[in-house]
Symmetry: D2
Subunit: 453 residues, 4 copies
Amino acid sequence: MAARFDPEHLSAAFSRVRDLSLALAEPLEPEDQCIQSMPDVSPTKWHLAHTSWFFETFVLAGPDFAPYRSGWDFLFNSYYQTVGEMHARPQRGLLSRPTVSEIQSYRRWVDERVLELLARGASDAQLRLVELGLHHEQQHQELLLTDILHVLSANPLAPSYRREPRAPSPSEAQALRWIEDPGGLVEVGRDLDAPAAGFGFDNEGPRHKRWLEPFAVASRPATCGEYLAFMADGGYRRPQLWLAEGWDTVCAERWTAPAYWRAADPSDTDPSDTDPGSWSIFTLDGQRPLGLDEPVTHLSYYEADAFARWSEARLPSEAEWERVVDGVVRARAGTDLRATANLLPLTGEGLASAALHPEAASLREADDETSGLAQVFGEVWEWTASPYAPFPGYRAPPGAVGEYNGKFMCNQMVLRGGSCVTPADHVRVGYRNFFHAPKRWQFTGVRLARDLS
Amino acid sequence: MAARFDPEHLSAAFSRVRDLSLALAEPLEPEDQCIQSMPDVSPTKWHLAHTSWFFETFVLAGPDFAPYRSGWDFLFNSYYQTVGEMHARPQRGLLSRPTVSEIQSYRRWVDERVLELLARGASDAQLRLVELGLHHEQQHQELLLTDILHVLSANPLAPSYRREPRAPSPSEAQALRWIEDPGGLVEVGRDLDAPAAGFGFDNEGPRHKRWLEPFAVASRPATCGEYLAFMADGGYRRPQLWLAEGWDTVCAERWTAPAYWRAADPSDTDPSDTDPGSWSIFTLDGQRPLGLDEPVTHLSYYEADAFARWSEARLPSEAEWERVVDGVVRARAGTDLRATANLLPLTGEGLASAALHPEAASLREADDETSGLAQVFGEVWEWTASPYAPFPGYRAPPGAVGEYNGKFMCNQMVLRGGSCVTPADHVRVGYRNFFHAPKRWQFTGVRLARDLS
Amino acid sequence: MAARFDPEHLSAAFSRVRDLSLALAEPLEPEDQCIQSMPDVSPTKWHLAHTSWFFETFVLAGPDFAPYRSGWDFLFNSYYQTVGEMHARPQRGLLSRPTVSEIQSYRRWVDERVLELLARGASDAQLRLVELGLHHEQQHQELLLTDILHVLSANPLAPSYRREPRAPSPSEAQALRWIEDPGGLVEVGRDLDAPAAGFGFDNEGPRHKRWLEPFAVASRPATCGEYLAFMADGGYRRPQLWLAEGWDTVCAERWTAPAYWRAADPSDTDPSDTDPGSWSIFTLDGQRPLGLDEPVTHLSYYEADAFARWSEARLPSEAEWERVVDGVVRARAGTDLRATANLLPLTGEGLASAALHPEAASLREADDETSGLAQVFGEVWEWTASPYAPFPGYRAPPGAVGEYNGKFMCNQMVLRGGSCVTPADHVRVGYRNFFHAPKRWQFTGVRLARDLS
Amino acid sequence: MAARFDPEHLSAAFSRVRDLSLALAEPLEPEDQCIQSMPDVSPTKWHLAHTSWFFETFVLAGPDFAPYRSGWDFLFNSYYQTVGEMHARPQRGLLSRPTVSEIQSYRRWVDERVLELLARGASDAQLRLVELGLHHEQQHQELLLTDILHVLSANPLAPSYRREPRAPSPSEAQALRWIEDPGGLVEVGRDLDAPAAGFGFDNEGPRHKRWLEPFAVASRPATCGEYLAFMADGGYRRPQLWLAEGWDTVCAERWTAPAYWRAADPSDTDPSDTDPGSWSIFTLDGQRPLGLDEPVTHLSYYEADAFARWSEARLPSEAEWERVVDGVVRARAGTDLRATANLLPLTGEGLASAALHPEAASLREADDETSGLAQVFGEVWEWTASPYAPFPGYRAPPGAVGEYNGKFMCNQMVLRGGSCVTPADHVRVGYRNFFHAPKRWQFTGVRLARDLS
């Protein structure tokens, strides 16, 4: 059995991940934890309960199992049709009960039983489900932060998530370079039969061949300054730059800038006003001046695509992205590129000094001096040109766990990398994140690519 | 100056009313106090803040006044265009901040200053505004309870508002009698120039003449048992019984019973199932069996009207209602009919034993033995056939206070009486409550009337 | 039997009314007659068919009756639940079949049978239903014209209804005078037991007493010029002038002027731009310059009410309106005030020279020199302050005909008078028209009133 | 220059295509040609006008060109932002003018000028645009038929498009066989630099390499009988069979069968009622009994995908589809597989005997006896598993023509093949059709595929 299934290792991981969720909620008042500011958002306390429900339902439940509370399975099932009916997603914000404190008790109850099970000796299947549950919880840690950002942004008082906001590190973006690749017949995706490789979701495999034409990708994500140049050049007013559905969305939603950008003078919504001083941005530390060298974030796919078209470039395919990053990772085997990336710390102690926002960066330690490739993990999830579809030969696992990924493979786009609020050990080369094209409340940005031929 | 404007009297009233609002919120967790379960509902904490904002803005504010917190006026203004812009009503449930505890501090801050002003000597205008603010707060006390009932009803766990639910008093409804009146040229409405009569809202006057044809009104509101007979006779399936907009609403909303009625078997929504055992009702004490002798409540105007048509009766006009009730009140001068009615107690101590739901009642002390007229104050607000319109000669007062009533005089129907959650001293013969015809979340019921000619 | 029930008289009236409907549709292409430009609008051909269905269903149908075509009753029933199910109103524009030509054949088929019945000898009930059917058809003649106005207005080509547009008569509005009335206990409404009085709808009675305070009404409707002054004074930007629902509608619909007003420069929607040259108006004769002396029309109730408030006046109640007009009508007994009013001609020949739009008017023959009362019939329907409610003692007739009026007595406002597209013999003192407060596609205007005390 | 650009050849093609559009509209009344039964549908006359606008704008317009009518460019531009603003798509059904007859005149005017230009000598660019315009018009011929099917289906009278409905040919479906392919590195897509290959849209290229794993595709599309078995097995009631968005759509739209299927007893919407006698289908020849051996059609992508999952198969990728069909086409070089397929005839004469609906088919001449591959052209468009995305190296052409395809490459799925209403010379191996996953009003069906490894 792989080291990752060693019960002691798993117990430690379990405690660490579960503790971090509570640490993330700690700066919040009970009132903050109930709000659902749009259907995509879940209340903080729902995240805390749902992740516990996952362990209760998939790890603890069995023939003689008495659930913690009757009716809670209905409230805290997200979308697993296999295990029963569920509360309607857009109504998660209507639930004042159970309270935050009752959910904390629920968490403790689940934690004790899972740890006891691990100590007592869990089955192989249970060990795998505990591991899955931890990765699941890490996904919800990121959502908890992006959701609370949206909740707080809906409040005219513009409250900060952190009690003690942290000033952004002053830094300059490195000059943009193009990293070239000859393409050819490549292998991408995860080898599902090589468990030594560590954990991966089912959707990351199987490993398969792709033919790539010669291409280049940008050494770093686009910055706010570069995006302002797009805006200044009529980016939000020229339909020719946009996908048809993107342009419809710009018109219907009256977009004139990325999400969370705020004009100094709200009545001045002229999207070509690119005096940087005219803009501020709402962050987990409240509202602050826009940093021109920071990676631009809170872009929809449509905006990433239009910006790329205006840049006379395009978005990379996920295979191209993986190919380039994989090369660097292999070349620097032994260095954990994630260690110095702008990611979410794994323990509560680290939170105070974490950026929790993309940062301007000259070359970091995590970046590759040879190739110049920078900021692939952390900062912003990078929209790719690839629709979220199954890899050849993909089959969803049987049972409820099979609903985890496969049933969403339609009308979404793949993002690669990781963001400033992704738990630091939750990123990997093959990770496939996915969102609908118009969504902007995640930390989503853009790395350009282009054809070489 | 009328006794009601004696500063000491007003100070005592102020303290009592303000305390009751807190007492009403006391059984609630902070999480309960943030939820807006539909656009008509406001969160509990918003009620607590808005009623304080009213005093801050209309009584305390002046040339050198520093508001408690910048930005709060925007959040807690309900609809007073005269004093500035306001947060959109349907988004009151998006505000996690200020917290419940911060709003309690705000209340204390306002209370201290108002009491100090009363002690120090307030102007006549200020005294009148304090009085208005108390009546305003009493309206919000009723809304706080009906809103929290809706919030809790949206939770599949069906939580109770009161920690210790109170069992309904077993009692039988009195037999229905008809109270006749010869009509003629009558005077109704409040004499705005006779302040001795105590407080009244601007919309209750001026006093004016109406011609009434001979009519009769029922001695008590209709009961759940009587309403079940309507349902059993196809009440919700016969368009001929309904106003056109009522029938459209029945179809669109799939109404098969009053609001908060719940079928024992949710898949059985056959509206003619009138086995009383098939129905329970959600109350401030949680879900409980339907009481057949209780006044039927949570009816829309459409349902009240259809029930009346089915009963071969009609709804009373507000002038008819006032005429009959006024007669009894005058006949029993010296007896406070409100003292023994099913109304909301005026202090927190009374809450534990209050009904907080309409009750079956044989003749109460509050009722009139001679005429048989019963339950006019308390139990349920009674829909009248009168659209909410200005009385002849009505003019809205100048300034923000003029927005209180006048601007709503369109597309609403008048209700008379009072309900089990109306503060006991907040009802009077001439009180004009008003809601839109499809609304059902208030304690609204029906008293029948008919022509005598 | 009254002369109006003489079969020969009725046959002639039948032919005249039925012919006028066809004459109204004559300028239209088949394509024009299918369109439903909003849910309130019905296609021309639907009006032609529905009015025929009315005679087929209520006059011709009986035990052995074979309907003209199976399935057409479903399509052409408007809202009579008593006689069966019906096609959804908002989907009337989806019906390409039956074609205009097929509907014309249907009309002929119905006409032959009704005329034959009248010749052969119809029952009393049938004679009354024929008469009702004709008044019903006249209502649809007005709707046909207001609906086609809306249909054509939705076309960027701005086509004219009439092939040969007629130039507006140049004329000045008379100076506004106030006509005073002492009020008191008055009788209004139709005496339903006095059939000699000619036809009236059930909702016009019974005759009943009202008490009126002294009041005055304006001698003529407000003009476009007067309304422009309201706009120039910030009419559409000052919430204090509006009912709450009116202001919500102004904001939601972005109203800046009455319906069909078009700014010369569409990008200039500044509602205070009251240079008359900046505005044109879309009419049944296409787009033309706004006539400042014409009665303002296509106002919602909200706009009429806000304009009245700005004018330091109010809208008249329907009793006040009826009281004043009735006085003049009685005083001038023998003169048919309708003969020279701006109403719809009763035969196709008159259509070419009809105004089909409100006209500026110095005193017409139809007006009363003594009182100065002008333009009460014709020009525009006049919003009153009276919600549409049953008169005391009103009871809807039994059966389907009882659905004609009674079930709409909720959430609508009464209008009195008649408009430039009301058939000339379809107006009378006691006529109660009614529409929802936000509606603007009828020829609706405003006559001011005020209290005298 | 390729033969296809010979002006004489092009003139003949022009006349033939333009005539067919008129022939397709010929059975329709003017009333039929105005209706827009949902936003996706355009009125017949709009198709006739828009296809003419295409030639007027892209071929005829130039420096001194006077457009046919001012304002029509606004009405009949579909989505070409480059050439100006356009009328909102969902409002195409509000245009009664220009009439059908005026649009026919417009067509003649355009036809004369284009033919004259071809006779006089057109530039190379103009010849290419004429060719593009013809292929564009053929697309609209298919849309005209699928749109009018939807329009007629919205009419409770269930009218037939054809005056003389044609009985379906009685025939049995062939037994389903699996056609295997070893995969490997294949080339697909159109070689844009090899114009000898005839016309193709920009989105069909460039030719590029793909790696395929071994796979098999079904020899023919699935039949109604096979689909009924899926329904009988709870197909529409088991969320596990569906993509998440598919299941949401099933619930929201209450789908229980493919579009245009009608239960014999409308109140019986039990989706597992698979007695074939319980179902009929609405076709261009009106309503008729469901043919069990006919290819199932009017499926959304979601239904095709769920059916495939239930069948323990999957949808083919577009590369797999092209690979297999291309093989057969090459093997049978010299035989025009389209000649005997169930496609739309190219002239009006053929319309009377055309199927205009998918037909049950034992092996046709168009099918391949060796492989068994049948019905690849004609019958139904076949949903593939491929999101509509640019092929590697794709670049949209400059100018308005570049808006033709590229800007729709998001959130749609590729379909391959052709349908019973696709013009017979408008299909080809590399043709990429595309629709959104929930759309059902096209003739869309499903051919299964599966992995061989």
